[in-house]
């Protein structure tokens, strides 16, 4: 476990958090700007001096009770920030070598070739940072951090400075990161799309406090959290490609063990591939009876589990359980009233769009 108890007075509030993050996968710190998530990350790195304790497994980086504080340069971490902060006087190759040369050879677990290949930067090695595009710079910054074979990778909105196209360029590399390297990542973001795509564990912060924390899928299915507000609301599901329908270019995705099946556009993934699927609340509608004569191909029988008010007074959020898997739908309150929805009632959920993320 990555454990941290941190306390630090900020403008207007006191940051006071206790974190317990899994030592594998991506943990996202999510919250509005100014909620203290960057400060938490900086304190984990030792760049900011908060009161408390920071430990990575059995390795203690800070323990005020014992008077222990390991300075940043002696912590086996990688740190990537929004604007890369590459060294402008060194070319890409020497930026990568900078950290690698500073760790003992015995601790170099990741080969530079692997990193260069993983992030697709082989053709950039002789270039100067100021000649790189934003996306390239960010990939070099990630590679530079990985070259120190860190035990923990800290990322502070690494995609925030990029436009949508560059984001789409970098995201697949981040996917591969945790697929190929077993390095835990703590990822700071205020973009729910990034979190839904990358995170396994989610910590919600607001004004310096932890609002809620838990596995991503559980958190996204909760109706009482800020993640259930806005256009990004919706569940994240783990699925397996069960069948590919070549004539219609569709793929059948199996969610869980039961009858939960979704048809989605075929992205060419082979049968058996594990995928992450995002079903937005706005793309789910509910009916009392199964429908015929509809264009929507995904109809799921389920049970209403919970109903909650949405941000706007006209809207409601409804959580439906399909087998054991929750799906969230966003309806008008009028529709919810007309359908006389209440917990325990059987309904049909119609899923218009399924976003495949891996």
């Amino acid at each position: 476990m990555i454990e941290a108890r941190l306390r630090l007075p900020r403008d207007g509030f006191t940051l006071d958090v206790a974190l317990s993050l899994p030592e594998r996968g991506v943990s996202a710190l999510f919250g509005p700007s100014g909620c203290g998530k960057t400060t938490v990350l900086r304190a984990l790195a030792g760049l900011e001096r908060a009161a408390g304790r920071v430990a990575l497994g059995s390795e203690v980086w800070q323990d005020d009770a014992a008077g222990a504080f390991v300075p940043t340069h002696r912590r086996a971490l990688g740190y990537v920030i929004q604007d890369a902060a590459l060294f402008p006087h060194l070319d890409v190759q020497r930026n990568l070598d900078y950290g690698r040369r500073r760790i003992p050879p015995a601790l170099r677990r990741i080969e530079p070739e692997q990193i260069v290949d993983l992030l697709g930067i082989a053709h950039l090695m002789r270039r100067r940072p100021d000649t790189l595009s934003g996306g390239e710079r960010q990939r070099v910054a990630i590679a530079r951090a990985l070259a120190t074979s860190p035990r923990l990778l800290l990322m502070d909105e690494p995609l925030a400075a990029l436009d949508a196209q560059r984001k789409a360029e970098v995201l697949p590399y981040l996917d591969r990161l945790h697929a190929e390297l077993a390095i835990p990542v703590v990822y700071v973001s205020h973009a729910v799309d990034e979190v839904a795509r990358l995170a396994h564990h989610l910590v919600l912060l607001d004004r310096g406090r932890v609002v809620a924390a838990g596995p991503l899928a559980d958190m996204m299915a909760r109706l009482d959290l800020p993640t259930a507000r806005g256009e990004g609301a919706g569940v994240v599901l783990d699925a397996v490609v069960a069948e590919r329908d070549a004539p219609w270019q569709l793929a059948r995705l199996q969610v869980g063990d039961g009858d939960f099946v979704l048809w989605a556009r075929d992205h060419g993934l082979p049968v058996g591939s594990a995928v992450r699927v995002r079903v937005l609340a706005r793309d789910v509608s509910l009916t009392r009876a199964p429908q015929t004569g509809t264009s929507i191909g995904n109809q799921l029988a389920g049970t209403v589990e919970a109903i909650a008010d949405d941000e706007h007074a006209a809207l409601a959020l409804v959580r439906v359980r399909v087998g054991v898997v929750p799906v969230v739908a966003r309806l008008t309150r009028r529709s919810a009233f007309a359908l006389q929805l209440s917990p325990g009632q059987p309904v049909w959920a119609h899923v218009k769009t399924v976003a495949l993320m891996e």
Binding site: L47, H73, I81, F87
Partner: protein, 228 residues
Amino acid sequence: MTPADWTAVRLTAQLAAWTTLLLLLVGTPVGWWLARTRSRLKPLWSAVVAMPIVLPPTVIGFYLLLLMGPQGPVGQLTQSLGLGRLPFTFAGLVVASVLYSMPFVVQPLQQAFEAIPARTLEAAATLRAGPFDRFFSVALPLARPGLLTAAVLGFAHTVGEFGVVLMIGGNIPGATRVLSVAIYDHVESTEFADAHRLAAAMVAFAMVVLVALYVVNRPARTDQSAAR
């Protein structure tokens, strides 16, 4: 030019070289500290360093004379260490020049260090570089234009000083009679042709140095913020 003038030229070059060398050694940590410190004493120390810009050279010369003289604390120290007295020696001139030219070296260095974003040095820390390592591998290379400016200004300013030299060094050929003093002597003795040769050479020297400096520092700094 007379042999005495050549001696003055050589002496001036030696003085400026020693002064610049010592100033880079002393001024770099001072500039770094001033650029990075959050101490409340920063304005005070900035003012102390900047004093020679606003004070008449005679004031500095006068107090240095008192400090380094036989009764002054520095004078007592140098004598007890067996180094003799500093006033009217080449060494005394170097010490005075270091103090007098300090702001011209410290300020460009300080500005160069201040221009380095904190995040760049923090990135170095997260890449396992300790404080000294960060300074030599990141801060110094990035401050190179400032380092060059500091060296050139320190050298040129030492070559051009007169008042402090006259008060601390006097006018001893081969030991303290530098160019500016030699020109003064020529004018006093109405040797205008000799004065002219040296003065014109000084004008040319200053011009060449400053033009070179502006040419070298002209290219826009290619850091990441400028490229975006």
